[in-house]
């Protein structure tokens, strides 16, 4: 074991501390490598696919995640009871909790992820910033918190305008003031302090350069326990709503090979600064002049990892398992090549026509698109209940093409083929995006979805057909009803009647 609490060792049985599509994704990688799998499930998930696909499954607790999928003690206990020698945390839940990684190691269980120390450093905004600055990684220019007003004014002029005055204790846009000219600065500082004092009881503020028209570009990393860190190129994740990514692609339209290698090298340096091991992602904010700044590191597998898998041909989850088994990466940086284009649409149970209101209920129909260049990672099935306990993602629809254009056309075709009934989905949002000029030309930034994209212009092309179908169904019902009450016909089953009606109409 390393000093930073990393344990790598060969294992043949692994517990998946997660649910939904990512639990299935991990199960599939385990099966490919001949690793036995242990699933855990809450009350809501007894019928879930990850339970049915695993070799073994253990009950972990009630439906709310804090009583089940977030219970470190119970999960460790199940791992020991089942004889699982390793735990994969997936994403979300316990994936970025240093104490969980540490608890695994303390119980002699391999944690499929980075050392606890790396999670802790990268999970603390201030420490992460200091650590990567020391490694020469560019960050958004800004001041330390706690300067006097006079110092802030001096620093502001050094940073330049536009800039943001931000509350140290801030969040949710409170205590945040954009400043476009020097003359507005004093008022903005006073205003931000007032707001921060009333919202957080702490009026400490700092200044940061405001990046307008910023894009979210992230670099996928793979690192082994023997000191090798590789990057697998970038992903473009600028299309977000409420800081939740909705569409991701690989590569990015705005990143060329030279920039890719430059960003990749910076990301590798950031990872090395915390002795990173396993899969991770460095998120950057890129301005319109293609300057890029470190935002944060995600010390885990990401939701959007499949787009990178399709373009690089690397099975990231299998690599995670190999690295956790103590193996060296089989690839060198020169072996990593990017071929073609992949786009991922997150299919969520929400209503794009009603302010993206989450939609709960039982899925009655689920037929996923197939065919060339289409991959669907999903954990739902007819009879699956979208509950308020977990997130609203139903599936990830990923399409690959030789070019971006081909990937878009395949995505349009796949969205048309997708049938989900029982809950509302954001499929119309994706269809509308795939038809939009701004998406075709990749002219978007992180504010695009919320500020410049509207569902109002989406054409509902099949209204007439929908009216006809509904009328035909009603007609069928009324014919059936009159048939049932007709004397002498009571012994005729509905089934027979249906087929007779079909014949009569021909």
């Amino acid at each position: 074991m390393r000093e930073d609490g990393l344990l790598t060792r060969k294992f043949d049985k692994l517990l998946i501390a997660n649910r939904g599509e990512i639990a299935l994704r991990i199960l599939r990688a385990c099966k490919a490598l001949g690793i036995q799998t242990v699933a855990i499930y809450s009350d809501a998930d007894r019928d879930a696919l990850h339970v049915r696909f695993a070799n073994e499954a253990y009950y972990v607790g009630p439906s709310p995640s804090r009583e089940s999928y977030l219970r470190i003690d119970k999960i460790i206990e199940i791992a020991k009871k089942s004889g699982a020698e390793a735990i994969h945390p997936g994403y979300g839940f316990l994936a970025e909790r240093a104490e969980f990684a540490q608890a695994c190691v303390d119980n002699d269980i391999v944690f499929v992820g980075p050392p606890a120390h790396a999670i802790a450093v990268m999970g603390d905004k201030l420490r992460a910033r200091e650590t990567v600055i020391a490694a020469g990684v560019p960050v958004v220019p800004g001041t330390e918190p706690g300067l006097t007003d006079k110092e802030l004014l001096t620093e502001a002029h050094k940073i330049g305008f536009p800039l943001l005055v931000k509350a140290s204790a801030g969040g949710g846009g409170k205590g945040m003031r954009p400043v476009f000219e020097a003359s507005e600065l004093e008022n903005a500082i006073a205003g931000a302090k007032r707001e921060a004092a009333s919202a957080f009881g702490d009026d400490t503020v700092y200044i940061e350069k405001l990046i307008t028209e910023g894009r979210h570009i992230e670099i996928q990393l793979l690192a082994d326990a023997h000191g090798t860190v590789l990057h697998l190129g970038e992903r473009e994740c600028s299309l977000q709503r409420r800081h939740q990514k909705v569409i991701e692609e690989c590569p990015s339209h705005v990143v060329d090979e030279e920039l890719r290698q430059r960003m990749g090298a910076v990301a590798v340096a950031a990872a090395k600064a915390v002795d990173y091991v396993n899969a991770g992602t460095i998120e950057f904010l890129m301005d319109k002049d293609k300057n890029f700044y470190f935002l944060e590191m995600n010390t885990r597998l990401q939701v959007e990892h499949p787009v990178t898998e399709l373009v690089t041909g690397v099975d990231i989850v299998q690599e995670q398992l190999r690295v956790a088994r103590g193996r060296k990466l089989r690839l060198t940086q020169e072996d990593v090549t990017m071929t073609g284009w992949a786009i991922e649409c997150r299919i969520n149970a929400e209503d794009p026509y009603n302010n993206y209101l989450p939609s709960t209920g039982t899925i009655t129909t689920s037929r996923v698109p197939t065919g060339p260049g289409v991959r669907v990672d999903s954990g739902v099935f007819p009879g699956y209940t979208v509950s308020p306990y977990y997130d609203s993602m139903i599936s990830k629809l990923i399409c690959y093409g030789e070019t971006r254009g081909e990937a878009i056309l395949r995505m349009r075709r796949a969205l048309d083929e997708y049938r989900i009934m029982g809950v509302k989905t954001n499929i119309p949002f994706h269809q509308h995006m795939m038809e939009s000029h701004r998406f075709h030309t990749a002219q978007f930034d992180t504010n695009f979805v919320e500020e410049k994209f509207s569902m109002d212009q989406k054409e509902a092309d099949h209204q007439l057909e929908a009216a006809i179908v509904a009328a035909l169904v009603a007609h069928r019902q009324s014919q059936k009803a009159s048939q049932i009450v007709a004397p002498g016909e009571r012994d005729t089953s509905n089934w027979k009647w249906y087929s007779r009606w079909e014949r009569l109409r021909r």
Partner: protein, 169 residues
């Protein structure tokens, strides 16, 4: 047989014959098949192929075609006469009951009783799935009842507010 199908305020008068369907002046040759898969239908309309998923609910029929979900109100001549006798029409009218789409906690009730609201105005803000969700007026009217207060825990389909016709009050 004649049916009246209404989608978002647009009414289609549909006459169903033996092998054809007329909608207004247009006549279509149709072949409609109930597929073995639950709720799925295949429609050939002048040989143009449409696959639809249909779910019948109390107030409307949901029809899914190519990713788009249509909510269709269907009446035949008899149910239409009955509705007219009650003073309702298919596209508007009567009380509109705002129900909770999911379990959650009411954060705020921006609309007050007696307030005239437009389509899209905020009525209730509900926290669920760790998110604040705005429930907006599906159409204009006057708020006749707000059944919850901030902090109320609500179940799915619980009545939150009622919007009545403006002219009625």
């Amino acid at each position: 047989m004649r049916y009246f199908a209404t989608i978002e305020g647009e009414e289609y008068i549909i006459d169903i014959g033996k092998e054809t369907i007329s909608v207004g002046d247009e006549t279509y040759h149709v072949d409609f098949m109930d597929l073995a898969e639950r709720g799925m239908f295949s429609l050939l309309i002048n040989n143009r192929s449409i696959e639809a998923v249909v779910e019948e609910e109390d107030e409307a029929t949901s029809v899914l075609i190519k990713g788009e979900l249509y909510s269709v109100k269907v009446q035949d001549e008899r149910t239409r006469r009955l509705a007219e006798a009650r003073g309702e029409t298919a596209d508007s009218g009567g009380e509109l009951v705002i129900k909770s789409p999911m379990p959650g906690i009411v954060i705020a009730t921006p609309a007050e009783v007696g307030q005239v609201v437009e389509k899209g105005d905020q009525i209730i803000i509900l926290e669920s799935m760790k998110m604040e969700n705005e429930l907006r007026a599906p159409r204009g009217g006057i708020v006749t009842r707000v059944a919850v207060t901030p902090g109320t825990s609500v179940e799915k389909d619980q009545v939150l507010a009622i919007i009545g016709d403006e002219e009625e009050s």
